[in-house]
Symmetry: C2
Subunit: 191 residues, 2 copies
Amino acid sequence: MRKPAKDKQEAILKTALTLFTERGFFGTPTSLISKEAGVATGTLFFYFRTKEELIDTLYRRIKGEAAAAMCRGLDKEKGVKEKLHRIGINAVAWATQNPEKMKFMEQFAHSQFVSTTAQEEGMSRFLFLKDLIREGISKGTVKDLDPDLAVSLMASSISGVVARASTAITPAEREEIIGQGLDFVWDGLKA
Amino acid sequence: MRKPAKDKQEAILKTALTLFTERGFFGTPTSLISKEAGVATGTLFFYFRTKEELIDTLYRRIKGEAAAAMCRGLDKEKGVKEKLHRIGINAVAWATQNPEKMKFMEQFAHSQFVSTTAQEEGMSRFLFLKDLIREGISKGTVKDLDPDLAVSLMASSISGVVARASTAITPAEREEIIGQGLDFVWDGLKA
DNA sequence: CACCATATTGACTGACTAGTCAATTTACAG
DNA sequence: CTGTAAATTGACTAGTCAGTCAATATGGTG
């Protein structure tokens, strides 16, 4: 008989991600989560004291994953332009490879269900982006605009690119869309 | 002595907008809507057969309002650049003057609660934007990119600008942010 | 093997909710 | 007035849900 403890916790998180993105927070009963995850109702509340603690945990995890994915190979790049481009590539790649997690983040980023502390923690993971923008401005490669605005614009633009790319039919078309989208962002930012 | 008919329907819609943005769809009981609107539970279901029909009606209305606001004074502008700029100004102005409605649209644009027919109807109101982008491309003032992508990028960028502008302290700072945001969009789109 | 903390179960509870409906009120036309 | 159709009411129903808890199972340790 097997029981490497945390198995069920993982099953709950995985199932909750799917159901929350499909049906929303209030639209997903905890009873359905536990049923689909193959555990008893009590087990869910053994690992997560409340339903909110469950979505908070999910949010923190996914936000962390996304931030890590965006930084991949970043130290290989030299200039600010190249780094921003790499971040864009990484972000779009992560989003297209993890559509469920992307949808989850968009759906719950500004929602009431996620605690403010979890939201602030999530934001803080992307501070490196603001620093990079500042570096670009001081070096004269990036337009002199408000760094917070630049971060906000990058995030929303990437979301826009992904939205359009997800309706692309062929992989070639998708690549084309992504390329055009990243060009838009850079042309909007460059000095 | 009672009031003329449709008064209560308006009160219900207005209250529902506030509560839905504050608490979400499933987080807002119909009983609370009717209570806050000062009507009986039955009255709500007299005007809207279901809770979904209520949010659908709200969605259609607000989307229509937003589209109309964006077109204001559009025929006064000559070139594609000027028209796009005017649309940007209008969009940001409407969003900052109607924060509740803006939040509602962002929150429910891709949500399960709004019927797909209402969502499609909402999208169709913005087709003029795609035509304008096409015109710009054919005239050589706009970069040759996918028109759907351009629309998606404009919409998401404006959402990003509004998000950042809403945290501005002084009106002057807000104006500055908006100006920079619209420059970003145009520089990203121009040929 | 015996012990015990940890993990797991599912029936149960108290609170809440969307929507109904029979009764009542209002507005207004004739 | 009177008749009537639309508007309004709120108690009520049938169902749902988050979270509890006492009982049970598991797995590692000495």
